[in-house]
């Protein structure tokens, strides 16, 4: 029935945001890579909101770029609006968010993939894993093609046994009415992976020509642009505004009158939906006191009339959706072009993964993206690049790469997933990071580009530029530290900054520590001999202004790292560790943490259990050392 269709180093199943980054990383690292997708027209498609970035998510895009991934470069080329959010807050939470021309984005990504050496893009539906001696060695497609490989990355998004729900209507489907992947779930289960059912949803899209924008508020993009990729220097993309309106009393009445037809409440939906992304019916029931909710109207691209109605995610029946939409000021005459819907799908319980994103039960099988219980394009892409890197390194016989919680949001996310699991689709939030001040938008390259270079995804040229930037920032800090200034010379500048006058001489750095004195102020009297970009100046300013807090967090990181460096032996049997509480034994046996640090983050493992593990580890190491010296 099957035929041998090809042999690769790495196969990636699914060409969404996780799959694209995975396949690109693997191919660029020199692995012969196959990227398989159910529909070639859906490569890098955005089935929900037409935007990329925002707090924590935007940070991830910067991190992907710093590692040598593509999401940042592609959105920089295809955005139709760019905004820096949180500019009134500290530098750690400044967050870039772009509206995407979603069609331009996916076409450009498809082109990049097609032009990448070692990378084969092929339409086809994977239905079975081929596992030999506990090792994943290939896949079988619906059409009978057998592809062999040394590592497989599964990035099926919401396609696995996907089911669309809209009021009373329910049918098997992937997102946006694509064919669902029905048989792969069974194959994953058969080989020992435990699956759960999650749910997500999307709002209706309406026709721009039927919107009365005069009843809404305009939300323009920034004038001074910043970019996701560290390599993008400028752009002449034309920007389109978004528009803000609100639900009305009428909206709430319509929803309340039709709750009996809402699958969320009728029991038709079994999957767990995300807390942070509830449908409009969910919001109105849970926050009954709130008189109105925001609704943002966002263009889906330059060459389309479709507008995404952010805030009205719903799985109500079509007739109710239309009433809901038309109860919103500005949308009285709106025509719906696509319905909103809820979608249920299978996901892998992520505690079954190692922090490299390889599954524990099947050697050589990796999973990334929504299949791991996350939500969001950025979260998917962040996992995708790591899974791709690690699949390639596995093939090349190299050790897996793990990003620490102090190194990046990608590290926070993966550690959360594999250590704690998740009860609902996981979204990154800046509050999930302990060391938020270290994980800034501005220093993503400082955090991760050396790693990207080491892995082989950052070119010599780019790395050279990076080193030069780093050097200049350090030179400038050094210069300011060594420049002594006199009160008289600073008088005018301090006045301009509305800052108190100096009473005695000091170094220039101390002036920059004052909250109201910016680098620009300082530069006006003490111009730098170095050729510094705006980015470098920003770096100097942030590193000085928040030095105290940054140092505090670095100290905490140092402690964390001591615990992370204490590796658990691979052959440890927690059942045999005397004194561990039974809950801890059970949890540790499932998670199999790589280090004491990871063990300490498992829910149900107490400090006493960690003390016992430390004693056990010391005992183990001493016995092992004694054995070695004895033999």
């Amino acid at each position: 029935m099957g035929y041998v269709a090809g042999e690769f180093d790495v196969i990636v199943i699914g060409a969404g945001h996780a799959g694209c980054e995975s396949a690109l990383a693997s191919a660029r690292m020199g692995c012969d890579t196959l990227l398989l997708t159910i529909n070639l027209d859906m490569v890098a498609f955005m089935p929900c909101n037409p935007s990329i970035g925002g707090p924590a998510k935007g940070h991830v895009v910067r991190e992907i770029d710093a590692l040598g991934g593509e999401m940042g470069r592609h959105i920089d080329k295809t955005f139709i609006q760019m905004r820096m959010l949180n500019t009134g807050k500290g530098p750690a939470v400044h967050a870039l968010r772009a509206q995407a021309d979603k069609f331009a984005y996916q076409h450009l990504m498809k082109k990049t993939i097609e032009e990448t050496p070692n990378l084969t893009l092929r339409q086809g539906m994977a239905e079975e894993l081929i596992v030999e001696d506990g090792k994943c060695v290939g896949i079988l497609t619906k059409t009978g093609a057998e592809y062999r490989a040394k590592a497989i990355v599964v990035t099926t998004g919401t396609y696995l046994r996907g089911k669309i729900i809209m009021g009373e209507l329910m049918y098997e489907s992937g997102p946006n009415n694509q064919q669902p992947s029905v048989r792969l779930s069974a194959s994953l289960k058969e080989h020992g992976l435990e699956l759960i059912r999650f749910k997500t949803g999307t709002p209706p899209r309406v026709n721009k020509d039927t919107i009365d924008f005069s009843k809404t508020e305009i939300q323009p993009g920034d004038e001074k642009l910043k970019f996701f990729s560290h390599e993008t220097e400028s752009s002449d993309n034309e920007q389109l505004p978004c528009w803000l309106t609100y639900t009305s009393e009428e909206t709430h009445r319509i929803i309340n009158d039709n709750l009996h037809r809402a699958p969320m409440f009728s029991g038709a939906i079994e999957g767990t939906g995300p807390r942070y992304c509830p449908s409009i019916e969910d919001k109105i029931v849970r926050f009954a006191d709130k008189p109105k909710h925001q609704v943002f109207l966002e263009p889906e691209g330059k060459h389309t009339s479709e507008y995404y109605v952010q805030g009205l995610s719903t799985s109500m029946p079509e007739d109710v959706q239309l009433k809901i939409v038309r109860s919103v000021p500005g949308l009285e005459n709106a025509e719906i072009m696509r319905n909103g819907y809820a979608i249920e799908y299978d996901a892998v319980i992520p505690t079954q993964l190692w922090p490299t994103l390889e599954t524990k039960v099947i050697d050589g099988l990796f999973t990334a993206g929504q299949i791991n219980g996350t939500s969001g394009y950025e979260e998917a892409a962040g996992q995708g690049i790591i899974a791709g890197i690690n699949a390639a390194r596995k093939v090349q016989g190299k050790e897996g790469v793990i990003i620490g919680r102090e190194q990046g949001y990608i590290g926070v996310m993966i550690d959360d997933l594999v250590t704690k699991g998740t009860n609902d689709p996981y979204r990154l939030l800046t509050s999930r990071a302990e060391y938020r001040l270290l994980l800034r938008h501005d220093n993503a390259d400082l955090r991760l580009t050396p790693l990207g270079y080491e892995i082989g995804l950052i070119t010599e040229e780019r790395y050279g530029k990076f080193l030069r930037k780093k050097e200049l920032v350090e030179l400038e800090l050094e210069r300011l530290r060594n420049t002594k200034v006199k009160p008289d010379d600073m008088k005018v500048m301090l006045e301009a900054a509305s800052s108190a006058q100096m009473t005695q001489g000091a170094d220039a750095l101390s002036l920059l520590r004052r909250p109201e004195v910016t680098y620009a102020h300082l530069e006006s009297v003490l111009p730098s001999p170095y050729e510094l970009s705006d980015e470098m100046k920003e770096q100097v300013e942030i590193q000085i202004k928040y030095e105290g807090y940054i140092e505090k967090q670095l100290l905490q990181v140092e402690r964390l790292n001591k615990m992370e460096k204490k590796k658990m032996p691979e052959d440890i049997d927690y059942g045999d560790v005397r004194g561990l509480a039974s809950e801890a034994k059970q949890k540790l046996s499932v998670i199999r943490p790589l280090s004491i640090g990871q063990a300490s983050r498992i829910a149900g493992v107490t400090p006493a259990d960690i003390s016992i593990l430390l004693v056990y580890l010391e005992h183990y190491n001493r016995v092992t050392a004694a054995r070695k010296s004895g033999s």
Binding site: P278, K283, A608, V615
Partner: protein, 459 residues
């Protein structure tokens, strides 16, 4: 390898006895030198030397306690780290004050159960053969500490801490939602609001600290259950010991229908006295509940004062209780010695050692000295060490409350110097974590839960 410094009382505390506070870790010497006033500087002192001086409160300059310090440089110490042992001349209050001040020093924290021994092992001081013993020690001490903490978590203190924590987490959730959902129609957090909320929490912490010092809420002591069958004089004994008429005293059996609690100090030894309903089989529902509680109190007590009636022969309820005394710290009180004796003393002595039997007449207030002497003896022989955990955990509470307060004060200060809210959040979060440590809560996901239950967010 180990980076922080730990401290704890390493001997039992009692008036007249000597208490040792052991401090171990890299900051042991420098930390203690800041609060030790003496002719010599600890930082320059040689290893294995003893120094006389005073522990001083660095904030007020006040001399707290006259002490002898023993100083040992690592690795020649029990833990193989730098160790300072503070020998204080006892007195519960004084030793507690010293420990309070020690714990307020940077990078010094309360030792976890069994942690000195654990460090000794990890630093290679203890032989491999003893690894199992070390693990057992950590396990048993932690379990005991956990059960103490759990009991406190059910009490009034924990309710207050939870309320306090709620104030802080609502503030945190609000800050977070401003950061993670900048475009949502949630009010922007202002410096004034942050200050107001922090001040509110500080006010509550101050109240708690004040009551803690007065010993009203953070009650500590050896849990002492007065047990016996009905009408043998348990409540009268309690009244004599507390000199107050709290418990109802009548000669109708079954009058005390609940457990009554009093806090007393006997010869400087803190006791938490529980007067229990008489334990007997009964059909009265209300009394039966009381009897159930008495049984619980009996099970949990560190010390049992078992009261028998000298005037009557042993009854089946007495015998049942006697049989349950094995392995417990118990004093048998033969009450009503003013009346003729009908009690089978030889049978009682089969269950209770004769030096743990005290003859009394509570009515005539005779024999009280004997009881006090017996309890003191048991205490100083270390038979009643269980109370240490309650005691230390309370000291721990106070230091954590102070730490939380300090973090909130840092947050307030930061609002005045133009620090952005996401940085102020770091201080507020520390406060929340310190409060959480008191309850033994895991910080984890609850902040995220709070964000989504407090605010309506979505796309």
């Amino acid at each position: 390898m180990i980076h922080d410094t730990i401290a704890a009382i390493s001997t039992a505390v009692g008036e007249g006895g000597i208490a040792i506070i052991r401090v171990s870790g890299p900051q042991a010497i420098s930390g203690i030198s800041r609060i030790f006033s003496s002719k010599i500087s600890l930082n320059d002192a040689e290893s294995h030397t003893v120094h006389y001086g005073h522990i001083v409160d660095p904030s007020s300059g006040e001399k707290i306690e006259e002490v002898l310090l023993t100083l040992m440089h690592g690795p020649r110490s029990f833990t193989a780290e730098d160790v300072v042992e503070i020998n204080a001349h006892g007195g519960v209050i004084a030793v507690k004050k010293v420990l309070d001040i020690v714990l307020l020093q940077d990078n010094i924290r309360t030792a976890e159960p069994g942690e000195f021994t654990k460090r000794a092992f990890l630093n290679g001081r203890i032989d491999l053969m003893q690894a199992e013993a070390v693990i057992d020690l950590i396990r048993s001490k932690s379990d005991r500490a956990f059960s103490v903490a759990r009991k406190q978590a059910e009490g009034a203190l924990s309710k207050k801490i939870k309320a306090l924590r709620q104030t802080v987490i609502e503030l945190l959730a609000h800050i977070e939602v401003n950061i993670d959902y900048p475009e949502h129609d949630v009010e922007e957090m202002t410096s004034a609001y942050i200050r107001e909320q922090c001040q509110l929490a500080i006010g509550e912490i101050d109240k708690l600290l004040k009551t803690a010092n007065e010993g009203k809420i953070l009650r500590e002591g050896i849990v002492t259950a007065i047990v016996g069958r009905p009408n043998v004089g348990k409540s009268s004994l309690m009244n004599v010991l507390t000199q107050e008429n709290k418990a109802i005293v009548t000669d109708i059996p079954g009058t005390t229908r609940d457990v009554i609690e009093q806090f007393v100090t006997l010869n400087g030894i803190p006791l938490r006295l529980l007067d229990t309903a008489g334990i007997r089989e009964t059909s009265d529902i209300v009394e039966r509940i009381g009897v159930e509680r008495s049984r619980d109190a009996f099970q949990d007590a560190d010390l049992i004062l078992f009261v028998l009636n000298h005037n009557e022969p042993l009854q089946s309820d007495d015998r049942q209780l006697l049989q349950q005394l094995e392995g417990r710290s118990v004093v048998a009180i033969i009450n009503k010695t003013d009346l003729p004796g009908h009690l089978e003393m030889d049978e009682v002595e089969r269950y209770v050692a004769s030096d743990r039997i005290v003859r009394m007449s509570v009515l005539e207030e005779r024999g009280l000295d004997g009881l006090e002497a017996t309890i003191s003896e048991m205490f100083f022989e270390g038979q009643l060490e269980a109370n240490d955990l309650t005691y230390v955990s309370n000291v721990r509470h106070i230091s954590l409350l102070k730490r939380a307060k300090g973090s909130l004060e840092d947050a307030i200060e930061a609002t005045y110097s133009g620090i952005p809210i996401d940085v102020i959040q770091i201080d507020a979060r520390l406060a929340w974590e310190s409060l959480g440590e008191i309850l033994g809560d895991e910080a984890g996901d609850s902040l995220i839960d709070q964000i989504f239950s407090q605010f309506c967010l979505g796309k």
